[in-house]
């Protein structure tokens, strides 16, 4: 497609830790090359300069937790040709979505002396609950190589190649011995989407689910295996309730054990 200008990239932040947008600045070897191919038109964490929209590609970090942000995401969508969400906050509501299982008023009063000053919603929700999202990049944090792949794919009008299979496949590819089979270490790898490179098993610990549920995860079976390994029900519930607690398969699995 013919373009009059370099494609314009915008980076937007909602409730988050900044780690996923930092991943772009962490591309130390590639950042200047990326900046040659596209115009970094709106990226407040990195630049004072703001180029007016519309933007060809918007990367959105963070979840929706305030009435103001619930409005603002619609403005971002209107100004963006493609909108890609990056990280567990944007794709699943993040760790702050733990409030969704409790009472936000109670949370408020624990942290703030005068809760009436705080504007917040009862739930922390992913961006796709509010606007159409062209692509979701998983991870807490995202993998910077996958981020480059997504940017490159959108620049060239193709689908990003980010496999939806499990962390187990990455362990096999790395030649990492299965920590659950060999050492009896509880691991969320069988139900968690690949993308991190199976770091935890390589460091002798079980996967704790940063990339959220894989395609068609069998969480019930994994829970059973964890129980055989001696994991208690409260521990099992909390394992599914971390950074991707409100991703549907993880939320449902944790609720099954809460009800039983």
């Amino acid at each position: 497609m013919a373009r009059q200008h370099k494609p314009r990239l915008a980076v937007w932040k909602f409730a988050s830790c900044d780690g996923c947008q930092l991943s772009l600045l962490d591309c130390e070897d590639e950042l200047l090359a990326v900046a040659e191919k596209l115009e970094i038109a709106n990226f407040p964490e990195a630049s004072r300069a703001v180029v007016k929209g519309p933007y060809d590609l918007s990367l959105v970090e963070g979840s929706i937790t305030t009435p103001h942000d619930a409005e603002r995401i619609h403005q971002v969508r209107r100004a963006s040709r493609y909108l890609v969400t990056i990280g567990a906050c944007a794709t699943a509501g993040g760790i702050q979505a733990l409030r969704n299982f409790g009472n936000v008023k109670e949370f408020l009063s624990i942290v703030y002396a005068q809760p009436e000053y705080i504007e917040t919603l009862n739930k922390s929700t992913p961006i796709a609950d509010h606007v159409f999202v062209d692509f979701e990049l998983r991870g807490c944090p995202i993998n910077k190589q996958q981020l480059l792949e997504v940017i490159s794919a959108f620049l060239h009008g193709r689908k990003p190649n980010t496999p939806p299979h499990s962390v187990c496949i990455e362990c096999k590819l790395r030649g990492t011995v299965c920590v659950m089979v060999a050492h009896g270490t509880p691991c969320l790898g069988p139900v968690t989407q690949a993308g991190c490179g199976a770091i935890c098993p390589t460091y002798h610990r079980g996967c704790y689910g940063c990339f959220g549920p894989k395609e068609t995860p069998n969480t019930a079976s994994l829970s059973q295996w964890w129980s055989h390994l001696g994991v208690s029900r409260p521990d099992l519930i909390r394992a599914f309730r971390s950074f991707n607690a409100c991703a549907e398969p993880f939320r449902k699995e944790s609720e099954v054990h809460e009800k039983n």
């Binding site: 830790c17 305030t66 702050q96 408020l108």
Partner: protein, 436 residues
């Protein structure tokens, strides 16, 4: 985004979205009849309630969860939470495991300081909107900055598994520790980084600095024999010297009328500053002799009270962190076990470590099963917020003759001087979104 609006009598400088800071904040300065009458450094980042969501979690999950407060300094959160919980459990991590914790912290200082020095702060001094624009004219400087940052990230990745939200830190130590031979390649890279840091220090020393001297009360950790990372007493240049567990008795959060954010104050004394300037003055004698010499060559005395020169002190701390990392690697012996045995018990623990931006205080109360009953986290940016506003009062008052856009830029810069991390501060700060 940036608005100034003036009549013959009054003038308002507003920056609705501060750039090149981690997180979202805004700046508001009001001038009437040639006098600054109001200053607000506001934070409108949404709260995430970490202290609340930690309740009911097992002690072992805390370092993984608190890391998510900040993508830029996750190690600081992991270190403060580990030390606080270990305090509650009555264990002390020593020997090579202690050294490895210091080593991974060196990596975070290098990575975080390099990000700030080159990508967030330097463009202000050289008149660019960002580091990418700056790279067009100062390619060598920006490349050096990126590679320095990479050296820090490589160290964190080796010990932590990845640079953002590392997975290898746990209560009692690590999941896996490196063999001596695994540290070889990163040591080679750090030798280059140490040279690059020295060049950076010399370069930073010659940037143009506005003349301003502030009479700060500096607060930092101080340790008997080392420049502080994970341990020490909390001291100030104005007579404070307390144990970490006495933090709550000496510091408080105040609700001030001109802002709806909670400001940290020293009881009976007021605003204080944490971060590189504070660490430097309070621990100058703990720097290795040749790092002290490099400081002198760069024109730094044993104290630096010009906040704009924090870029020089940060560069010096990059140099120190590279040098210290190399010393630790040189002396490293692989421990027999990656972590010491931990048994849960009821108790309250306190931890304070030196995040790149200053002291980070954590306090946890555990029940006898090791479940978190109560948590308190005080990040450096909330401690600095009041002092940042005081900087703005002084700077705006003495720079009123500047054209409006330059004055606005200088005020923004005055905030960036302290590398505020708003994502960190917000789960703690009181917010009120004032819509203009």
């Amino acid at each position: 985004m940036r608005k100034t609006n003036s009549s013959s009598k009054s003038e308002t400088i507003k920056v609705d979205c501060l750039a090149r800071v981690e997180g979202e904040g805004s700046l508001y300065v009001r001038v009437r009849e040639g006098r600054v009458v109001d200053v607000k450094f506001k934070i409108f980042e949404p709260p995430r309630f970490f202290e609340a969501l930690l309740r009911g979690r097992n002690y072992s999950e805390v370092p993984d969860i608190t890391a998510r407060i900040c993508g830029i300094c996750p190690i600081a959160y992991q270190m403060s939470s580990c030390h606080a919980i270990e305090d509650a459990l009555g264990i002390i991590v020593g020997g090579p495991l202690r050294a490895l914790r210091r080593l991974i912290y060196c990596g975070e200082w290098i990575e975080s300081h390099a990000l700030h020095v080159f990508m967030l702060h330097a463009p202000d001094f050289l008149g660019y909107a960002d580091a990418i624009q700056m790279a067009k004219d100062h390619s060598g400087v920006v490349q050096r900055g990126l590679q320095l940052k990479k050296a820090g990230n490589e160290l964190v990745t080796l010990l932590g598994g990845r640079e953002i939200h590392p997975i290898n830190v746990r209560i009692g130590g690590f999941y896996k520790v490196p063999a001596r031979s695994e540290l070889g390649p990163v040591a080679e890279r750090l030798k280059w980084a140490r040279e690059a840091a020295l060049e950076t220090l010399r370069w930073a020393a010659h940037l143009p600095f506005p003349a301003i001297e502030r009479d700060y009360e500096f607060v930092a950790l101080r340790h008997d024999s080392e420049y502080p990372f994970n341990e020490g007493r909390i001291v100030s240049n104005k007579g404070l010297e307390i144990d970490v567990r006495d933090y709550d008795a000496h510091f408080l959060e105040e609700h001030v009328s001109h802002s709806n954010a909670l400001h940290c104050l020293l009881k009976g004394r007021g605003a204080y500053l944490v971060g590189p300037l504070a660490r430097y003055q309070l621990n100058f004698d703990q720097l290795s002799p040749w790092v002290r010499e490099a400081a002198r060559e760069a024109g730094l005395g044993p104290a630096c009270r010009n906040p704009f020169q924090s870029i020089v002190v940060r560069s010096l701390e990059i140099l120190y962190a590279c040098d210290e990392a190399l010393r630790i690697i040189e002396e490293y012996q692989m421990p027999e076990s990656p972590a010491i045995e931990v048994q849960p018990r009821a108790g309250t623990g306190y931890g304070c470590t030196e995040a790149p931006r200053g002291i980070l205080y954590h306090r946890y109360q555990l029940d006898d099963a090791g479940v978190i009953v109560d948590a308190k986290i005080v990040p450096p940016t909330s401690q600095n917020q009041k002092m940042i506003e005081e900087d703005l009062w002084q700077l705006a008052s003495q720079s009123l003759q500047l054209p409006e856009d330059q004055l606005a830029w200088q005020c923004e810069q005055a905030i960036r001087n302290h590398d505020p991390c708003i994502s960190c501060a917000t789960h703690f700060l009181k917010l009120h979104v004032e819509r203009d």
